[in-house]
Amino acid sequence: MKNKKNNWLSRAVALLLPLLLLGGAALAQAPAAAEPEMADALRQSGKIYVVVLVLVIIVTGLLVYLVRLDGKVSRLEKEAESR
């Protein structure tokens, strides 16, 4: 944790990368008739994105928790070293 600014920048890039990747493939959903039933209606109405966002929020929340826990342990390690 030497240069905080650089750290935050790379963290933001890591978070945004998968969102950039999603753009193209998300549009490539074409429903076809007389085939096994899939969640087409949900996709057409666009509500699948609600589910995706909910999961992104949950996973991000859990990861933020883990990152903070990681930081706390790092601080504790330093403290135990100096005492």
Partner: protein, 225 residues
Amino acid sequence: MKWWKYLTIALLLYTVVMGFLGHVPRLAILNETERNLYFHVPMWFGMTIILLASVINSVRYLRNPSSRLDILAHESAKTGILLGVLGLMTGSLWARYTWGTWWTTDVKLNGAAVTMLIYAAYLVLRGSVRDEQQRARLSAIYNIFAFSAAIPLLFIMPRLAEASLHPGMGGNPGFSKYDLDSAMRLVFYPAVIGWTLLGVWITEVACRLAFVQEKIYEKQEKQLA
């Protein structure tokens, strides 16, 4: 933070987004549930890899005892058990909506359940020995048994069985047959790496905490002496 932790974050977010929006082949019965391939299956991959790390540390402990190696083996086993329990729960839910039942006496299912019981006994064993060195030694030996029982139960017996509902077992085609549609591989492999790394990360934090705790106890003992 180390580089692989950023990789974990990127891979998991990619998995969650592409896991739902990516292309999957149209299959009867499975329908959209085949997306579980990105979530249920990586639990077992992660569990196996982390339990392997655990048993390696147990063997290292027996060759050259140190509390550090005991902690590494113990914390890895705990994370492995967590992933295995999540795998059992998600598998059961998936079975309910594709096979029509929460549980069936399938070799693959029972093998996985027995594996989790064997590892539960590892935790029971650790909890029942007070002396630290004895606990470390006993549990290291038990861990070798647990891992060598888990591999045949999970990967060999189900494949030898005459019939199994589970994909890839008992003459049943695995998902590798479906995701020849390589769009699924593009999500599946990152998902496996991402979830496994998450397990490694959790284990790493738990180990570091245990190391610090030990260091503090040692210092306190020195001050008292």
